[in-house]
Point group: C2
Chain length 204, copies 2
Protein backbone atom coordinates (compact mmCIF):
# COMPACT_ATOMS: atom_id res chain seq x y z
CA UNK A 1 0.00 0.00 0.00
CA UNK A 2 1.12 3.53 -0.75
CA UNK A 3 2.26 6.00 1.92
CA UNK A 4 -0.79 7.02 3.94
CA UNK A 5 -1.33 10.57 5.18
CA UNK A 6 -4.36 11.67 7.20
CA UNK A 7 -5.43 15.30 6.78
CA UNK A 8 -7.35 15.84 10.00
CA UNK A 9 -8.55 17.96 12.88
CA UNK A 10 -7.65 15.99 16.02
CA UNK A 11 -10.91 16.98 17.75
CA UNK A 12 -13.01 15.39 14.97
CA UNK A 13 -14.54 11.99 15.56
CA UNK A 14 -14.70 11.46 11.80
CA UNK A 15 -10.91 11.75 11.70
CA UNK A 16 -10.53 9.50 14.77
CA UNK A 17 -12.42 6.69 12.94
CA UNK A 18 -9.61 6.53 10.41
CA UNK A 19 -6.88 6.62 13.07
CA UNK A 20 -8.62 3.85 15.01
CA UNK A 21 -9.06 1.69 11.89
CA UNK A 22 -5.38 2.12 10.99
CA UNK A 23 -4.32 1.34 14.56
CA UNK A 24 -6.40 -1.85 14.75
CA UNK A 25 -4.83 -2.93 11.45
CA UNK A 26 -1.30 -1.93 12.47
CA UNK A 27 -0.94 0.44 9.51
CA UNK A 28 1.16 3.58 10.07
CA UNK A 29 -0.39 6.97 9.24
CA UNK A 30 1.31 10.33 8.89
CA UNK A 31 -0.94 13.04 10.38
CA UNK A 32 -1.34 16.64 9.18
CA UNK A 33 -3.52 18.79 11.44
CA UNK A 34 -5.87 21.61 10.43
CA UNK A 35 -7.98 23.80 12.74
CA UNK A 36 -11.50 23.87 11.33
CA UNK A 37 -12.49 26.71 13.69
CA UNK A 38 -9.81 28.86 12.02
CA UNK A 39 -11.08 27.97 8.53
CA UNK A 40 -7.93 26.06 7.63
CA UNK A 41 -9.93 23.60 5.47
CA UNK A 42 -11.53 26.41 3.45
CA UNK A 43 -8.37 28.03 2.12
CA UNK A 44 -7.86 28.12 -1.68
CA UNK A 45 -4.87 25.77 -1.34
CA UNK A 46 -6.87 23.20 0.65
CA UNK A 47 -9.85 23.38 -1.71
CA UNK A 48 -7.63 22.96 -4.76
CA UNK A 49 -5.16 20.36 -3.49
CA UNK A 50 -6.89 18.32 -0.78
CA UNK A 51 -10.70 18.46 -0.93
CA UNK A 52 -12.94 20.72 -3.02
CA UNK A 53 -15.66 20.06 -0.43
CA UNK A 54 -13.61 21.95 2.20
CA UNK A 55 -13.85 19.22 4.82
CA UNK A 56 -11.65 16.90 6.79
CA UNK A 57 -10.86 14.05 7.11
CA UNK A 58 -9.14 13.30 3.83
CA UNK A 59 -6.98 10.20 3.51
CA UNK A 60 -4.09 10.66 1.09
CA UNK A 61 -2.74 7.47 -0.48
CA UNK A 62 0.36 8.35 -2.46
CA UNK A 63 -0.80 11.26 -4.65
CA UNK A 64 -4.53 10.46 -4.51
CA UNK A 65 -6.99 12.03 -2.07
CA UNK A 66 -9.99 10.29 -0.52
CA UNK A 67 -12.54 12.39 1.41
CA UNK A 68 -15.35 10.96 3.58
CA UNK A 69 -14.36 9.17 6.77
CA UNK A 70 -16.21 5.93 6.17
CA UNK A 71 -14.85 5.59 2.62
CA UNK A 72 -11.33 6.07 4.00
CA UNK A 73 -11.93 3.36 6.63
CA UNK A 74 -13.14 1.03 3.86
CA UNK A 75 -9.97 1.70 1.83
CA UNK A 76 -7.73 0.89 4.79
CA UNK A 77 -9.64 -2.26 5.75
CA UNK A 78 -10.26 -3.98 2.42
CA UNK A 79 -9.10 -7.57 2.66
CA UNK A 80 -8.98 -7.55 6.48
CA UNK A 81 -11.27 -9.08 9.10
CA UNK A 82 -12.76 -5.60 9.77
CA UNK A 83 -14.96 -6.20 6.68
CA UNK A 84 -17.22 -9.30 6.75
CA UNK A 85 -16.39 -12.14 4.39
CA UNK A 86 -19.95 -12.70 3.17
CA UNK A 87 -21.92 -10.51 0.77
CA UNK A 88 -24.91 -9.84 3.03
CA UNK A 89 -22.59 -9.05 5.94
CA UNK A 90 -20.64 -6.52 3.87
CA UNK A 91 -23.86 -4.79 2.81
CA UNK A 92 -25.19 -4.89 6.38
CA UNK A 93 -21.97 -3.27 7.62
CA UNK A 94 -22.41 -0.50 5.03
CA UNK A 95 -26.03 -0.17 6.19
CA UNK A 96 -24.85 0.79 9.69
CA UNK A 97 -22.18 3.09 8.25
CA UNK A 98 -24.78 4.96 6.16
CA UNK A 99 -27.05 5.08 9.23
CA UNK A 100 -24.11 6.62 11.11
CA UNK A 101 -23.67 9.39 8.55
CA UNK A 102 -27.40 10.07 8.08
CA UNK A 103 -29.07 9.53 11.48
CA UNK A 104 -26.25 9.62 14.04
CA UNK A 105 -23.46 12.01 13.07
CA UNK A 106 -25.63 15.02 12.06
CA UNK A 107 -27.27 14.88 15.51
CA UNK A 108 -24.82 13.35 17.99
CA UNK A 109 -21.63 14.83 16.54
CA UNK A 110 -23.14 18.20 15.71
CA UNK A 111 -24.44 18.77 19.25
CA UNK A 112 -21.00 17.90 20.67
CA UNK A 113 -19.41 20.37 18.24
CA UNK A 114 -21.93 23.12 18.96
CA UNK A 115 -22.13 22.72 22.75
CA UNK A 116 -18.56 21.68 23.67
CA UNK A 117 -16.30 23.08 20.96
CA UNK A 118 -18.03 26.18 19.51
CA UNK A 119 -19.92 26.91 22.74
CA UNK A 120 -23.65 27.59 23.07
CA UNK A 121 -23.10 31.34 23.52
CA UNK A 122 -21.50 31.53 20.06
CA UNK A 123 -24.23 29.67 18.14
CA UNK A 124 -26.38 31.44 15.57
CA UNK A 125 -30.12 31.76 16.12
CA UNK A 126 -30.72 29.20 13.37
CA UNK A 127 -28.41 26.73 15.12
CA UNK A 128 -30.11 27.24 18.49
CA UNK A 129 -33.48 26.54 16.82
CA UNK A 130 -32.18 23.15 15.70
CA UNK A 131 -30.93 21.90 19.07
CA UNK A 132 -34.23 20.26 20.10
CA UNK A 133 -34.60 18.44 16.79
CA UNK A 134 -31.02 17.23 16.91
CA UNK A 135 -31.47 16.11 20.53
CA UNK A 136 -34.50 14.00 19.52
CA UNK A 137 -32.74 12.64 16.43
CA UNK A 138 -29.63 11.72 18.39
CA UNK A 139 -31.64 10.00 21.14
CA UNK A 140 -33.50 8.00 18.47
CA UNK A 141 -30.20 6.90 16.91
CA UNK A 142 -28.79 5.87 20.30
CA UNK A 143 -32.04 4.02 21.13
CA UNK A 144 -31.81 2.07 17.86
CA UNK A 145 -28.22 1.13 18.70
CA UNK A 146 -29.32 0.09 22.21
CA UNK A 147 -32.07 -2.13 20.80
CA UNK A 148 -29.62 -3.83 18.43
CA UNK A 149 -26.82 -4.23 20.97
CA UNK A 150 -29.17 -5.67 23.60
CA UNK A 151 -29.18 -8.81 21.44
CA UNK A 152 -25.80 -8.66 19.68
CA UNK A 153 -22.19 -8.24 20.76
CA UNK A 154 -21.24 -6.31 17.61
CA UNK A 155 -23.22 -4.54 14.88
CA UNK A 156 -22.58 -7.20 12.23
CA UNK A 157 -21.59 -10.82 12.79
CA UNK A 158 -19.51 -12.09 15.69
CA UNK A 159 -16.59 -9.67 15.77
CA UNK A 160 -15.65 -6.02 15.32
CA UNK A 161 -16.18 -4.48 11.86
CA UNK A 162 -16.02 -0.96 10.44
CA UNK A 163 -19.65 -0.51 11.51
CA UNK A 164 -18.54 -0.62 15.14
CA UNK A 165 -15.62 1.76 14.52
CA UNK A 166 -17.81 4.26 12.65
CA UNK A 167 -20.46 4.29 15.39
CA UNK A 168 -17.96 4.23 18.27
CA UNK A 169 -16.25 7.49 17.29
CA UNK A 170 -18.99 9.93 18.27
CA UNK A 171 -20.96 7.65 20.61
CA UNK A 172 -18.17 7.35 23.16
CA UNK A 173 -17.96 11.14 23.48
CA UNK A 174 -21.69 11.84 23.14
CA UNK A 175 -22.00 13.21 26.68
CA UNK A 176 -20.06 16.26 25.46
CA UNK A 177 -23.19 16.95 23.37
CA UNK A 178 -25.55 16.52 26.32
CA UNK A 179 -26.58 12.89 25.73
CA UNK A 180 -26.69 10.51 28.71
CA UNK A 181 -24.80 7.26 28.12
CA UNK A 182 -26.29 5.83 31.32
CA UNK A 183 -29.63 5.57 29.48
CA UNK A 184 -28.09 3.00 27.11
CA UNK A 185 -26.55 0.13 29.12
CA UNK A 186 -26.01 -2.23 26.16
CA UNK A 187 -24.27 0.61 24.30
CA UNK A 188 -22.01 1.14 27.35
CA UNK A 189 -20.99 -2.54 27.43
CA UNK A 190 -20.25 -2.40 23.68
CA UNK A 191 -18.12 0.75 24.15
CA UNK A 192 -16.05 -1.23 26.67
CA UNK A 193 -15.61 -4.09 24.20
CA UNK A 194 -14.34 -1.67 21.54
CA UNK A 195 -11.89 0.04 23.90
CA UNK A 196 -10.50 -3.37 24.95
CA UNK A 197 -9.57 -4.37 21.38
CA UNK A 198 -5.87 -5.12 20.74
CA UNK A 199 -4.28 -2.08 19.11
CA UNK A 200 -7.01 0.33 20.31
CA UNK A 201 -5.97 3.98 20.50
CA UNK A 202 -7.95 6.68 22.30
CA UNK A 203 -9.17 9.93 20.78
CA UNK A 204 -6.70 12.79 21.32
Amino acid sequence: MKTLTLHEDPCSGNCYKIRLTAALLGKPLTRIAYDILKGETRTPAFLQNVNANGRIPVLQAGDRFLPESNAACWYLAEGSALIPGDAFGRADMLRWMFFEQYNHEPNVATLRFWLSIVGEAHLTAAQKEQIAGKRAGGEAALALMEEHLAGHGWFVGGSVTLADIALYAYTHVCEAGGFRLGDYPAVCRWLERVSALPGYVPMD
Copy 2:
Protein backbone atom coordinates in the same frame (compact mmCIF):
# COMPACT_ATOMS: atom_id res chain seq x y z
CA MET B 1 -29.31 -14.84 -5.20
CA LYS B 2 -32.37 -15.10 -3.00
CA THR B 3 -35.79 -13.70 -3.91
CA LEU B 4 -35.55 -9.91 -3.76
CA THR B 5 -38.37 -7.73 -2.42
CA LEU B 6 -38.22 -3.95 -2.22
CA HIS B 7 -40.22 -2.33 0.57
CA GLU B 8 -40.68 1.17 -0.83
CA ASP B 9 -42.62 4.36 -1.31
CA PRO B 10 -42.70 4.96 -5.07
CA CYS B 11 -42.23 8.73 -4.63
CA SER B 12 -38.91 8.22 -2.80
CA GLY B 13 -35.69 8.74 -4.71
CA ASN B 14 -33.90 6.51 -2.21
CA CYS B 15 -36.19 3.66 -3.26
CA TYR B 16 -35.73 4.52 -6.93
CA LYS B 17 -31.95 4.06 -6.61
CA ILE B 18 -32.51 0.40 -5.79
CA ARG B 19 -35.01 -0.09 -8.62
CA LEU B 20 -32.61 1.56 -11.08
CA THR B 21 -29.66 -0.56 -9.90
CA ALA B 22 -31.70 -3.75 -10.24
CA ALA B 23 -32.94 -2.69 -13.69
CA LEU B 24 -29.43 -1.93 -14.99
CA LEU B 25 -28.34 -5.36 -13.71
CA GLY B 26 -31.42 -7.15 -15.10
CA LYS B 27 -32.39 -8.45 -11.64
CA PRO B 28 -36.14 -8.81 -10.95
CA LEU B 29 -37.55 -7.14 -7.83
CA THR B 30 -40.92 -7.65 -6.18
CA ARG B 31 -42.22 -4.30 -4.93
CA ILE B 32 -44.33 -3.63 -1.82
CA ALA B 33 -45.54 -0.04 -1.49
CA TYR B 34 -46.03 1.97 1.71
CA ASP B 35 -47.30 5.55 2.02
CA ILE B 36 -44.92 7.41 4.30
CA LEU B 37 -47.32 10.38 4.56
CA LYS B 38 -49.87 8.00 6.13
CA GLY B 39 -47.29 6.65 8.61
CA GLU B 40 -47.27 3.20 7.09
CA THR B 41 -43.57 2.73 7.92
CA ARG B 42 -44.11 3.57 11.59
CA THR B 43 -46.65 0.86 12.44
CA PRO B 44 -45.70 -1.70 15.12
CA ALA B 45 -45.68 -4.45 12.46
CA PHE B 46 -43.31 -2.52 10.17
CA LEU B 47 -40.99 -1.60 13.05
CA GLN B 48 -40.84 -5.18 14.28
CA ASN B 49 -40.67 -7.06 10.98
CA VAL B 50 -39.10 -4.77 8.38
CA ASN B 51 -37.05 -1.92 9.90
CA ALA B 52 -36.81 -0.78 13.52
CA ASN B 53 -35.70 2.61 12.17
CA GLY B 54 -39.17 3.15 10.62
CA ARG B 55 -37.87 4.05 7.19
CA ILE B 56 -38.00 2.84 3.63
CA PRO B 57 -36.40 1.61 1.45
CA VAL B 58 -35.65 -1.82 2.84
CA LEU B 59 -34.38 -4.55 0.54
CA GLN B 60 -35.52 -8.01 1.60
CA ALA B 61 -33.28 -10.88 0.41
CA GLY B 62 -35.00 -14.11 1.32
CA ASP B 63 -35.80 -13.68 5.02
CA ARG B 64 -33.17 -11.00 5.74
CA PHE B 65 -33.84 -7.26 5.70
CA LEU B 66 -31.40 -4.58 4.58
CA PRO B 67 -32.24 -0.91 5.26
CA GLU B 68 -30.34 2.08 3.79
CA SER B 69 -30.62 2.66 0.06
CA ASN B 70 -26.92 2.77 -0.75
CA ALA B 71 -26.21 -0.43 1.18
CA ALA B 72 -29.00 -2.17 -0.76
CA CYS B 73 -27.52 -0.96 -4.06
CA TRP B 74 -24.14 -2.34 -2.96
CA TYR B 75 -25.70 -5.73 -2.16
CA LEU B 76 -27.35 -5.94 -5.59
CA ALA B 77 -24.25 -4.84 -7.48
CA GLU B 78 -21.45 -6.83 -5.82
CA GLY B 79 -19.44 -8.61 -8.50
CA SER B 80 -20.84 -6.45 -11.33
CA ALA B 81 -19.31 -3.63 -13.37
CA LEU B 82 -21.34 -1.12 -11.32
CA ILE B 83 -18.62 -1.42 -8.65
CA PRO B 84 -15.04 -0.56 -9.73
CA GLY B 85 -12.54 -3.39 -9.95
CA ASP B 86 -9.70 -1.57 -8.15
CA ALA B 87 -9.45 -0.83 -4.43
CA PHE B 88 -9.08 2.94 -4.68
CA GLY B 89 -11.96 3.10 -7.15
CA ARG B 90 -14.25 1.16 -4.82
CA ALA B 91 -13.41 3.50 -1.93
CA ASP B 92 -13.81 6.56 -4.17
CA MET B 93 -17.25 5.30 -5.22
CA LEU B 94 -18.22 4.93 -1.56
CA ARG B 95 -16.87 8.44 -0.98
CA TRP B 96 -19.45 9.88 -3.40
CA MET B 97 -22.18 7.68 -1.90
CA PHE B 98 -21.43 8.97 1.61
CA PHE B 99 -21.32 12.52 0.20
CA GLU B 100 -24.75 11.84 -1.29
CA GLN B 101 -26.23 10.82 2.06
CA TYR B 102 -24.52 13.56 4.08
CA ASN B 103 -24.34 16.64 1.83
CA HIS B 104 -26.85 16.05 -0.96
CA GLU B 105 -29.88 14.05 0.20
CA PRO B 106 -30.62 15.99 3.43
CA ASN B 107 -30.77 19.20 1.37
CA VAL B 108 -31.83 18.36 -2.19
CA ALA B 109 -34.22 15.52 -1.34
CA THR B 110 -35.65 17.15 1.76
CA LEU B 111 -36.59 20.38 -0.07
CA ARG B 112 -38.32 18.33 -2.80
CA PHE B 113 -40.23 16.44 -0.11
CA TRP B 114 -41.16 19.55 1.82
CA LEU B 115 -42.05 21.79 -1.12
CA SER B 116 -43.57 19.35 -3.65
CA ILE B 117 -44.95 16.45 -1.58
CA VAL B 118 -45.83 17.80 1.89
CA GLY B 119 -46.44 21.33 0.58
CA GLU B 120 -45.00 24.55 2.03
CA ALA B 121 -48.30 25.47 3.69
CA HIS B 122 -48.13 22.30 5.81
CA LEU B 123 -44.55 22.72 7.04
CA THR B 124 -43.82 23.36 10.72
CA ALA B 125 -42.18 26.62 11.78
CA ALA B 126 -38.96 24.71 12.49
CA GLN B 127 -38.98 23.26 8.98
CA LYS B 128 -39.59 26.67 7.38
CA GLU B 129 -36.61 28.04 9.36
CA GLN B 130 -34.37 25.42 7.76
CA ILE B 131 -35.28 26.09 4.12
CA ALA B 132 -32.58 28.72 3.53
CA GLY B 133 -29.85 26.54 5.03
CA LYS B 134 -30.95 23.53 3.01
CA ARG B 135 -31.10 25.68 -0.15
CA ALA B 136 -27.48 26.76 0.39
CA GLY B 137 -26.36 23.23 1.27
CA GLY B 138 -28.07 21.75 -1.78
CA GLU B 139 -26.58 24.38 -4.10
CA ALA B 140 -23.12 23.66 -2.68
CA ALA B 141 -23.59 19.92 -3.31
CA LEU B 142 -24.75 20.53 -6.88
CA ALA B 143 -21.83 22.94 -7.46
CA LEU B 144 -19.36 20.30 -6.27
CA MET B 145 -20.92 17.78 -8.67
CA GLU B 146 -20.74 20.35 -11.48
CA GLU B 147 -17.04 20.97 -10.80
CA HIS B 148 -16.29 17.25 -10.90
CA LEU B 149 -18.42 16.48 -13.96
CA ALA B 150 -16.93 19.38 -15.92
CA GLY B 151 -13.81 17.22 -16.18
CA HIS B 152 -15.18 13.67 -15.95
CA GLY B 153 -17.90 11.68 -17.73
CA TRP B 154 -18.78 9.69 -14.60
CA PHE B 155 -18.11 10.11 -10.90
CA VAL B 156 -15.53 7.30 -10.71
CA GLY B 157 -13.54 5.83 -13.58
CA GLY B 158 -14.71 5.58 -17.15
CA SER B 159 -18.20 4.12 -16.79
CA VAL B 160 -21.32 4.20 -14.66
CA THR B 161 -21.01 3.04 -11.04
CA LEU B 162 -23.27 3.11 -8.00
CA ALA B 163 -21.96 6.61 -7.28
CA ASP B 164 -23.76 7.86 -10.40
CA ILE B 165 -26.96 5.98 -9.54
CA ALA B 166 -27.00 7.28 -5.96
CA LEU B 167 -26.49 10.89 -7.05
CA TYR B 168 -28.81 10.66 -10.06
CA ALA B 169 -31.90 9.75 -8.03
CA TYR B 170 -32.56 13.11 -6.37
CA THR B 171 -30.54 15.29 -8.76
CA HIS B 172 -32.75 14.60 -11.78
CA VAL B 173 -35.86 15.72 -9.86
CA CYS B 174 -34.19 18.56 -7.91
CA GLU B 175 -36.28 21.25 -9.61
CA ALA B 176 -39.24 19.96 -7.60
CA GLY B 177 -37.30 21.29 -4.60
CA GLY B 178 -36.68 24.68 -6.21
CA PHE B 179 -33.16 24.06 -7.53
CA ARG B 180 -32.33 25.20 -11.08
CA LEU B 181 -30.70 22.49 -13.18
CA GLY B 182 -29.88 25.06 -15.86
CA ASP B 183 -27.22 26.45 -13.53
CA TYR B 184 -25.31 23.15 -13.81
CA PRO B 185 -24.67 22.31 -17.49
CA ALA B 186 -22.18 19.49 -16.89
CA VAL B 187 -24.66 17.91 -14.46
CA CYS B 188 -27.35 18.14 -17.17
CA ARG B 189 -25.16 16.33 -19.70
CA TRP B 190 -24.39 13.62 -17.14
CA LEU B 191 -28.11 13.20 -16.37
CA GLU B 192 -28.64 12.52 -20.08
CA ARG B 193 -25.86 9.91 -20.09
CA VAL B 194 -27.49 8.09 -17.16
CA SER B 195 -30.95 8.12 -18.71
CA ALA B 196 -29.50 6.69 -21.97
CA LEU B 197 -28.03 3.60 -20.23
CA PRO B 198 -29.29 0.21 -21.48
CA GLY B 199 -31.93 -1.06 -19.05
CA TYR B 200 -32.65 2.40 -17.58
CA VAL B 201 -36.04 2.79 -15.94
CA PRO B 202 -37.62 6.14 -15.03
CA MET B 203 -38.88 7.10 -11.58
CA ASP B 204 -42.61 6.39 -11.17
